[in-house]
């Protein structure tokens, strides 16, 4: 089976300083992979490479078997992204924002309408489709962004710290919803976060520090690798300065 995301020996540097150093991992359909790492670990650079905002100069990234550099259009059509920074147009309504995204993915009017209804209803946002995004609170905006990322039924969903700045109930809705998607639709998810309580027992973990993968696998595997008993302790052991595993 082709992996939804295959990152092989990827390195990237800014002005001689390595941001990513020989990263290799895969995310398969039905996997929710949580990318944990302190600030400056290289998470945003990795996301910029997967989304082709930057070109991969060393190593390769494949989405559903398509090389992001050489077959970027096929690869990007299978990708849904929620960036850390809000990317909705505040002046437009929820529906207009989603229609714009549907148009960018080549969806016709009828299909777009149907998919917008399905995804907004799933998040309990359909009733608010005619409101300007500016009128929504942070949690609802995030829900709209996730609904938008799912409109074209991507194989891989990238979430770059989507719950930052949200209150606990809003965070919970998003965490539960994404895990439901993985379970029901066998979607592949790569989720960058700082928050340990967003990790479910069945999730795979990828711990990044100073551009290197310090540990990967299920929670029990990571705990065994680090001879710790909690994710907090494992993370601390792996991300302390000079930590080596």
């Amino acid at each position: 089976m082709t992996a939804a995301l295959a990152v092989a020996d990827v390195s990237f540097a800014y002005s001689g300083k390595k941001a990513l150093d020989g990263l290799s991992f895969t995310v398969n359909a039905g996997d929710c992979t949580i990318l944990l790492g302190p600030n400056g670990a290289g998470k945003s650079t990795l996301f910029a490479l997967i989304t082709r905002l930057y070109d991969t100069r060393s190593g390769s990234i494949q989405l559903c078997g398509f090389n992001i550099k050489k077959q970027s259009l096929q690869a990007l059509s299978r990708l849904g992204v929620v960036f850390q920074q809000p990317t909705l147009d505040m002046d437009l309504t929820v529906q207009q924002n989603l229609r714009y995204h549907a148009a960018l993915h080549g969806m016709g009017g009828r299909l777009a309408k149907l998919r917008i209804q399905e995804e907004l209803e799933r998040f309990g946002m359909y009733e608010r489709r005619s409101e300007a995004v500016r009128q929504l609170n942070g949690g609802h905006r995030r829900r709209v962004e996730i609904a938008r990322a799912l409109l074209h039924k991507p194989t891989l969903l990238l979430l770059d710290e989507p719950t930052v700045g949200l209150d606990v109930p809003s965070r919970q809705v998003i965490v539960e919803h994404v895990h439901e998607l993985v379970k029901q639709q066998q979607m592949a998810v790569l989720w960058a976060t700082h928050t340990f309580d967003e990790v479910y027992p069945a999730d795979r973990l990828l711990i990044l520090h100073k551009g290197q993968i310090k540990a990967q696998g299920s929670l029990p595997e990571v705990l065994t690798q680090t001879t710790t008993t909690t994710l907090h302790a494992a993370f601390a052991a792996l991300t302390q300065n000079g930590a080596r595993v």
């Binding site: 100069r57 096929q74 690869a75 920074q85 990317t87 147009d89 437009l92 960018l104 080549g106």
Partner: protein, 268 residues
């Protein structure tokens, strides 16, 4: 990537720009107020001071307001091009540019669609301005209103492409003031928008040379001739070549491997 996909995406981008423009009424009003002040105040004041001899495409002596109108049309498009550039920088800072850049379409196509959307907005502004000018007795032949459309599209594309190119260089929104000082004002004042070339030559040869080679001068002349039902081939070729150069450079600027964006961050 199918034709239908491109078609839908392009209309999605154009529709979004037009909708934003309609929603932002202040932008529409300010885009009109600027040239109207020039027309009603500046041109009226300089009417007596600046005599305009008979020069093509005009077949008789004309008032200064008549001379300045194509220049003000160019001014609307120049400011609109820079406004598009500003909105690109804003979109990049606000993150919405990323949504555009990660959709499965080639970058050149996305930039071109964005450019066409900006041109559609500027053409709309120009026709409203020309309608007001008509009420002020500036009345080119009616066919001129049709002939000027292709000229407006080409000039809009050229100035929009320049805006795109600049937006790939501008790192932060705050730096945009520099564009005003170093691009818009020199381009506008060192052109044939306000005074004919022969008039500039009388005062300074250097200014004359700069105005002659300024792509904005050629754009204004293309509009001026088209508005009076004439085709200025030199201005057309010059504007077209300038568009191709600016657009190619802008596409290069937004290319993830060769782009200025990654170089700015020192990516290796």
């Amino acid at each position: 990537m199918s034709f239908l996909h491109c078609w839908r995406a392009m209309w999605g981008i154009i529709g979004r720009e037009l909708w934003r423009f309609i929603k932002q009424r202040e932008r529409f009003i300010s885009a009109l107020v600027r040239p109207l002040i020039w027309l009603f105040v500046f041109a009226a004041g300089f009417r007596a001071a600046l005599g305009i001899a008979i020069t093509p495409p005009y077949e008789t002596y004309i008032l200064y307001e008549v001379y300045i109108t194509p220049g003000l049309v160019g001014m609307i498009q120049l400011f609109n091009g820079m406004q598009s550039s500003l909105s690109m920088v804003y979109d990049r800072e606000m993150g919405s540019m990323r949504i555009l850049m990660v959709c499965p379409l080639p970058r050149w196509f996305l930039l071109m669609s964005k450019l066409i959307a900006g041109v559609a907005v500027s053409v709309l502004q120009v026709y409203v301005f020309l309608a007001i000018a008509w009420g002020y007795d500036i009345r080119p032949p009616w066919q001129g209103y049709l002939w000027v459309l292709p000229a407006l599209i080409l000039v809009g594309l050229m100035l929009g492409a320049l805006g795109l190119l600049l937006s790939s260089f501008i790192k932060q929104l705050e730096n945009f003031a520099g564009v005003m000082n170093f691009v818009i004002f020199p381009m506008f004042f060192m052109s044939t928008a306000l005074y004919p070339l022969w008039k500039i030559q009388e005062s300074s040869m250097l200014l004359h040379t700069l105005a002659l080679y300024n792509p904005f001068s050629q754009a204004v002349e293309l509009i001026r001739f088209a508005l009076y039902g004439q085709f200025n081939q030199t201005a057309f070729v010059y504007t077209l070549v300038a568009f191709i150069i600016f657009m190619s450079a802008a596409i290069l600027g937004y290319n993830p491997s060769k782009g200025i964006e990654t170089r700015k961050k020192g990516a290796e």
